[in-house]
Symmetry: C2
Subunit: 152 residues, 2 copies
């Protein structure tokens, strides 16, 4: 049971931009800080831009910044948008379900209830809550990824 790497990396990007609030950040800088390929991050930033979370300024002095205040970026809403699907079990998908008892089975309802409960926790947090210790986060992000591992 895990989220896609798109969700995971999207949160990391937004955390990075949040603690560098007034700065235009290059993709390469985030790639170096997190040890994630620039190519991969470029695609993620493009998607986050389309979703309205990030603003990209083109040109030599350009870069990326948050398009909203951190307190306006809700974690539950973000994860709902970055996850591909929530097909906890096969019968969540009408198109790909092959389980013959789906029409009379209560399992889907129970898992739906569990999923709602999962999200009701995430809905209580915003990016501002996650980055409230921005000084500490910054310390770990200034060191190359490999160095940060050694600190632990």
């Amino acid at each position: 049971m895990k989220l896609t790497s798109f969700s995971d990396y999207s949160i990391r990007v937004l955390v990075y931009l949040s603690i560098n609030n007034h700065k235009l950040v290059q993709i390469q800088e985030m790639a170096d800080a997190y040890g994630i390929s620039k190519n991969h991050l470029t695609k993620i930033i493009y998607q986050l831009g389309k979703m309205g979370y990030i603003e990209t300024i083109r040109g030599r002095n350009g870069g990326n910044r948050l398009a909203k205040a951190p307190a306006e970026i809700n974690i539950g809403e973000l994860v709902r948008r970055t996850e591909e699907d929530f097909y906890i079990v096969e019968c969540f998908s009408n198109n790909h379900n092959s389980c013959p008892i789906a029409p009379v089975c209560s399992l889907r309802g129970i898992f739906n209830q569990a999923l709602n409960s999962f999200f009701s926790v995430l809905d209580a947090y915003t990016l501002a809550d996650i980055t409230s210790n921005s000084m500490e986060l910054q310390t770990y992000l200034r060191k190359p990824a490999i160095e940060a591992e050694r600190i632990e």
Copy 2:
């Protein structure tokens, strides 16, 4: 965000055995009812046997049956045992985490809280709850999988 097919199919097997409570069930019969390969189900039944959920009687008149009463099979506990891991995001795994901010990031705590909330819903249900409409479930399981799709 999804469970493994092992969790999904494990529940289906236990549902089948629950509504055929006093009968020794052949793997082929369940494979036909659900449209899942016999090979795949054989592995699942072996694992569920090791976990103490299923009893397998060998020999010509043998078969499989529940090793516990349906009311004693808790869905939360079952899913905790059938899922490989709960690495919602990368930092849940101490061995495979590459995120440098993990030591000072509050995200893991928030996702842990969400995961606990997910399971507290599942913990409230047993196999007996899921199979309380056993007559209806039986109707759908008696038809070959392809027929059941047409009924919908």
